[in-house]
């Protein structure tokens, strides 16, 4: 499956958008956190998991989805949220904890929910999978269209929820796709040190479902594999396990010293940054030139800046609002 010109530009644009968003979040996150880094301080407190480097996974998959399809994401959700079309202003405001945020600040960066585009997260490793299976079941029972996609890291493939969810989806032949973003690390623990198979797509055999491995963080390879998996789900052919080789350019979370990385790993990764690489592909293909690229980047930056201003200018809910929305 090959992306159209429009899809290629869409993917590139969303990668750029996600990256610039995270670049800005990264710097704002550090405000109030120097000289002493204390996670509790600054305009964006708490843990912060950046996804830069992993953008291809999000755009390659979400290029095939519409608002009605369901996505469950992880503790590292920004790139996926962007690609799924989560409302950017409200998302950034949520990351700041503001009243105008997706959830009024009740959730925060690990708990982005946008019902409009059927997007949800969980900060617990592996726990987005069950809900994705259930959303797919819901569609089947309602006779409505739509597929569900559950994103996870390669570390999550060793969690019990992975096994139970894939089995259940396969037994009931549900329209769901499981996407592993294999960045090689679960915090400081390397995949090889904790995973009994060289590649997690092999585990699809345990559920009689197709398992597909996409190497090299390759945007269009991901697009192709995801396209097939999602098309199969839509056709009623059941679930697929998709394993994508990717990498994180940053630490596990901000503040991570990354001492566990082998020497040179990080520098090597910077060389392989998927965004300049895809940009080059699109330039070579004549889909982009220096001007249109600059315009696209500017536009993305402007959208991000608007969202950040929106968030910064928004108020917090009153402290007592903490008591609200436990029940509806």
């Amino acid at each position: 499956m090959k992306p159209t010109a429009e899809q290629r530009l869409w993917m590139y644009r969303n990668m750029v958008l996600s990256r610039y968003l995270e670049t800005r979040i990264e710097s704002i996150y550090m405000e109030g956190k120097t000289p002493v880094f204390n996670m509790a301080n600054g305009p964006i407190p708490g843990e912060m998991h950046l996804s830069n480097g992993q953008e291809p996974c999000a755009v390659g998959v979400c290029a095939h989805l519409t608002a009605e399809d369901v996505v469950t994401a992880t503790h590292r959700p920004h790139h996926i949220a962007v690609a799924k079309g989560v409302e950017l202003d409200a998302m950034v405001a949520e990351i700041f904890g503001k009243a105008t945020g997706l959830s009024g600040g009740h959730g925060g960066h690990m708990h982005l929910f946008d019902a409009r585009v059927n997007f949800a997260c969980s900060g617990i490793v592996g726990q987005g999978l069950g809900p994705a299976v259930g959303a797919a079941l819901s569609r089947k029972l309602q006779g409505k269209s739509g597929v569900a996609v559950a994103f996870m890291g390669e570390g999550a493939a060793n969690q019990g929820a992975f096994h139970e969810s894939l089995n259940l989806a396969a037994v009931w032949k549900l329209p769901v796709v499981f996407v592993i973003e294999d960045n090689g690390w679960g915090i400081s623990v390397a995949k090889e040190a904790c995973t009994a198979v060289p590649n997690n797509h092999l585990r699809a055999a345990a559920y009689g479902m197709p398992g597909v491995h996409v190497p090299d963080n390759d945007v269009e390879g991901i697009f192709a594999a995801a396209g097939e998996a999602i098309a199969n789900a839509r056709k009623g052919l059941g679930p697929t396990l998709l394993e994508i080789e990717t990498f994180r350019l940053a630490g596990h979370f901000m503040g991570d010293s990354e001492d566990y990385r082998p020497a040179g790993e990080k520098e090597g990764l910077q060389q392989r940054d998927p965004i300049p690489r895809y940009r080059r592909q699109l330039l070579d293909a004549g889909l982009l030139d220096e001007n249109s690229d600059a315009a696209l980047v500017n536009e993305a930056q402007a959208r991000v800046e608007t969202a950040i201003r929106f968030a910064q200018n928004s108020e917090f809910l009153s402290p007592e609002a903490a008591l609200d929305v436990v029940f509806v």
């Binding site: 009024g104 959303a135 509806v328």
Partner: protein
């Protein structure tokens, strides 16, 4: 059915299944998942007959994968369905508690109230029939302690039906804990008082309202589920001794009807809490604290609690029976209370 409404008695199991069936008839979003809830009708009879009427799409036997199917219920509920899932024994919560408390109970809050998770998690509780330490617990306190889910515990078939209907219609997650000894499954023996007249038509019992099931002036016996029947028996005995005990059936732990507890103890001046869940850090402490933090002078005697000791549940009948609350212990506790006063 030709039985008259006012006289037809049902077991709790039948009352639950009837409530579910009635809601499934009027609401296509309602469906059921769990282990052995299909042709078997639920190990404790909670879904008997449903598969015949509603088929395998809406009444789904699952693999032994509680994390997946309870997680799936959360996903389905967020997507517009109203699933009912069964966790066969509450004792198994440890294999799936994340789906329950980090997803089911919190997603509404995390979404700022925008995502609703209208689902019912029904689960059996309680011992007394020598099923040992992994199949006899109540764990009321465990569930009630964690915010974001309502928790109901019926003591009779009337409440069981009405609470189930209310739970299914509730836009929030409800944990519905039914005690095995009240269920009306022949093979478990049944507390007679749990099998009561149940209207055929659909109705709700409001979640969050306790019920005074017996009026009295000398002591408030506060309990839930099977404990209510111990209290009622104890009240009979005490009446013969010239004391009138009020029995309060909490019915719901979340929300907790603190007003009802305070009002009752305010009237009687004495409090005995009866709980089959573990003693410490649970229901019994909460009820006592509820009273005294509100008014530390309303008590004529030190409050007492008869709860399950802080021990795993032993298999052997003499040990298990000794550890369980019962009417005799309640009567004794009251007598001691009067002596020491």
């Amino acid at each position: 059915m030709t039985t008259k409404k006012a006289t037809r008695k049902l077991t709790i199991a039948r009352a639950m299944a009837e409530a579910i069936a009635q809601e499934m008839r009027i609401d296509p979003r309602v469906f059921v998942m769990g282990e052995d809830i299909g042709p078997l009708g639920g190990v404790f009879g909670t879904t008997r007959g449903l598969i015949t009427e509603f088929g395998t799409e809406r009444v789904r036997d699952t693999p032994i994968s509680e994390t997946a199917f309870i997680g799936a219920a959360v996903g389905a509920a967020s997507d517009g369905m109203r699933p009912i899932v069964e966790l066969m024994f509450v004792d198994f919560f440890g294999v799936c508690m994340d789906a329950i408390y980090n997803l089911m109970a919190k997603n509404t809050y995390f979404s700022g109230g925008k995502v609703r998770v209208p689902m019912v998690l029904m689960t059996s509780t309680g011992g007394g029939y020598s099923d040992a330490g992994q199949h006899s617990q109540c764990l009321y306190g465990t569930f009630a302690h964690l915010p974001g889910m309502k928790v109901v515990v019926p003591s009779n078939a009337y409440d069981a039906k009405g609470l189930m209907t209310a739970a299914i219609r509730d836009d929030n997650p409800v944990v519905y804990m039914y005690h095995k000894s009240l269920q009306g499954m022949g093979w478990l023996g049944t507390e007679k008082g749990a099998t009561v007249a149940v209207p055929e038509e659909s109705y709700t019992v409001e979640i969050g309202k306790a019920a005074v099931v017996r009026k009295g002036n000398d002591v408030s016996l506060v309990s839930l589920g099977a404990g209510v029947h111990h209290c009622l028996r104890a009240a009979e005995v005490l009446q013969k001794e010239g004391f009138s005990a009020e029995v309060l059936d909490l019915r719901s732990l979340v929300p907790l009807d603190r007003e009802a507890v305070r009002a009752s103890v305010g009237r009687t001046g004495r409090l005995i809490v009866v709980d089959e869940d573990y003693h410490s850090y649970g229901v019994s402490g909460e009820i006592i604290a509820t009273v005294v933090e509100h008014n530390h002078t309303c008590l004529k005697a030190a409050p007492k609690r008869l709860a399950y000791p802080d021990i795993p549940i032993p298999f052997a009948r003499p040990m298990e029976q000794w550890a369980l609350p019962n009417a005799d212990k309640i009567v004794d506790a009251f007598r001691q209370m009067m002596l020491n006063q």
